[in-house]
Symmetry: C2
Subunit: 305 residues, 2 copies
DNA sequence: AGAGGATGGTGCAAAAAATGCATCACGATG
DNA sequence: CATCGTGATGCATTTTTTGCACCATCCTCT
């Protein structure tokens, strides 16, 4: 869209905090970009950027304005999506954010399933910290986000929530493999692969550690599910994950087994699917959310609300 | 605003249902306008207008699109209003619609009062039928509307409601002038000035006429409060009005008197102040609504909710 | 049936706007 | 104090937009 371009210019300048940097990104001269900004400020009647020696920064008026044009841009793409939906083909662009836990198994599966029906829909999947998730949602950079065990501000809508108990991941020949439920104390004798980044899984495990005074022997810290499963095949170590991260019936890959941790030791965490409050999503994104919610309800009937 | 102009072009074409007519209104050639529309349709990827021998008409995609750009335009003006509010001066543009009843006394007074404080705010006051009020609100043509005794669709927000009993207007020397409360039967002996257009006052009076079987002698039909008051000074006729239409303590002009009609004869009508649901108004409009609501509460303490 | 008057669409030249280059002025940084 | 990066500006060039004249089509009225 032509006039979308104009808006995008301002948006990029605000993000890059520099006219010259933004101009490179946009493949135009800094002159042209600079003039557009001056012209815009002329029209609005007020400067929107502060000029600093190191670049530019939005002032209060600019913050107001940028918020408006971001919402305009996403609104427009929503409308275009609705329009193309009229002609039968579902086009669209869905942008999903979330922590590392949700990036394996469940989400890839759901996206693949959705794309079986609607091949013209494109997905962006971003790995984000909870803080990044929140600001991205507010800045219209993502359509929805999975947020694991975090306090949610009131300007978000919670679309769905699932309770996620902690599971241990072990090799199928591991001595613990036949247990139905594992106490945290049972894990003390083996090397532990624990989560690296703050929040989510790490917090859950930390709570369990404090509750049971279990002094787990962490030998590796990582967030990568693939690394965990591969490592477990080589050493009799124990990894941790939530059900969303591994397959429902089969294990992540053959040769692994998941065993529930006693919920008395580690209380379940809650994963929320959230979107910006009041935002109307594109047809594609809305349908995808519908599918996700249905899938969550089906797989975790008692844990969803 | 430059890029607002682009949007306005489409908007006017949609309203005029003709490219040539719209081009006159916009002071450009039909060629230029036609090309813009073709270019826009190119960008969207779908025709937005149907071409008829008599002009153009929005198709479904166009309806979707026009709704979007109208909301964009009003959103933009709201943001600009917020921005100019940052610098202390309150600029803005408030557009109010309503039936003939609310155009005298109360509303002019409130606008004058508001403009004492904020001289840079401009007002448009439109006289509308209830149906026009509704469509204008939905099309973002008005910020708010007073609607008298009408069923309201659910996509409107009712900001305030006041109960308005019917009053008779007579000359101060009229034989009935000293009555405190008038039965409709008391009016039979005099010529009646009754409302012309459907809805509001006319409906109230009609209900009273049916209830009491009073066969009023209508000699003049008009909606103009000024005409009624002027006429009453010349012949001993009786006009009708609701409190919002005349001054609180003094009468409309000297020489007139207002007398309540027995509410058993004519039940009070309700005037709603409404806005489009979910719409965020400009600073100027929002403050004006605040003032109106306060004024209504003060003047009709028991009749407001 | 035919004339007249609407409508939107198109080729081409003129006008207007956006762009790019070279350069300036300013402040931070080493 | 020289250097580097920043945004702003004058001028020539390129791109886009606009206006004029004209076409094809359809409706209406004679």
């Amino acid at each position: 869209m032509r006039h979308l371009t104009h808006l995008r210019y301002i948006d990029v300048v605000a993000r890059e905090k520099s006219i010259r940097k933004a101009s490179e990104k946009l493949n135009i001269t800094s002159t042209a970009l600079n003039r557009r900004i001056l012209a815009l400020e002329e029209e609005v009647g007020t400067p929107l950027f502060e000029r600093l020696p190191s670049g530019v920064r939005l002032n209060t008026a600019g913050e107001l304005f940028i918020q408006h044009i971001r919402s305009q841009m996403t609104d427009l793409s929503r409308v275009l999506s609705q329009i193309s939906d009229l002609s039968g083909v579902r086009r669209g662009h869905v942008i999903v954010g979330g922590g590392p836990e949700i990036l394996s198994s469940f989400l890839p599966g759901q996206i693949a399933k959705y794309r079986q029906d609607f091949q013209a829909v494109q997905f962006d999947v971003l790995r984000q910290t909870p803080e990044q998730s929140l600001t991205a949602l507010m800045n219209f950079e993502t359509d929805m986000s999975f947020i694991f065990d975090s306090v949610l501000p009131s300007d978000l809508d919670i679309v769905a929530s699932v309770s996620q108990p902690l599971f241990a991941l072990v090799h199928k020949d591991h001595p613990l493999a036949e247990y139905k439920i594992l106490k945290l104390q049972d894990c003390l004798a083996w090397p532990i692969i624990s989560p690296l980044s703050e929040g989510g899984l790490k917090t859950m495990l930390e709570v369990g550690r404090l509750r049971t005074a279990a002094n787990l022997q962490t030998v590796i810290k990582t967030d990568e599910p693939n690394f965990i499963s591969d490592y477990i095949r080589n050493e009799n170590a124990i990894g941790f994950a939530i059900p969303l991260s591994f397959e429902e019936n089969t294990q992540i890959v053959k040769g692994l087994k998941s065993i529930a941790i006693d919920e008395g030791d580690v209380p379940p965490g809650i994963v929320h699917l959230v979107q910006r409050k009041g935002r109307v999503l594109s047809v594609a994104a809305a349908k995808f959310i519908d599918q996700i919610v249905q899938a969550l309800n089906k797989r975790f009937p008692e844990a969803t609300r």
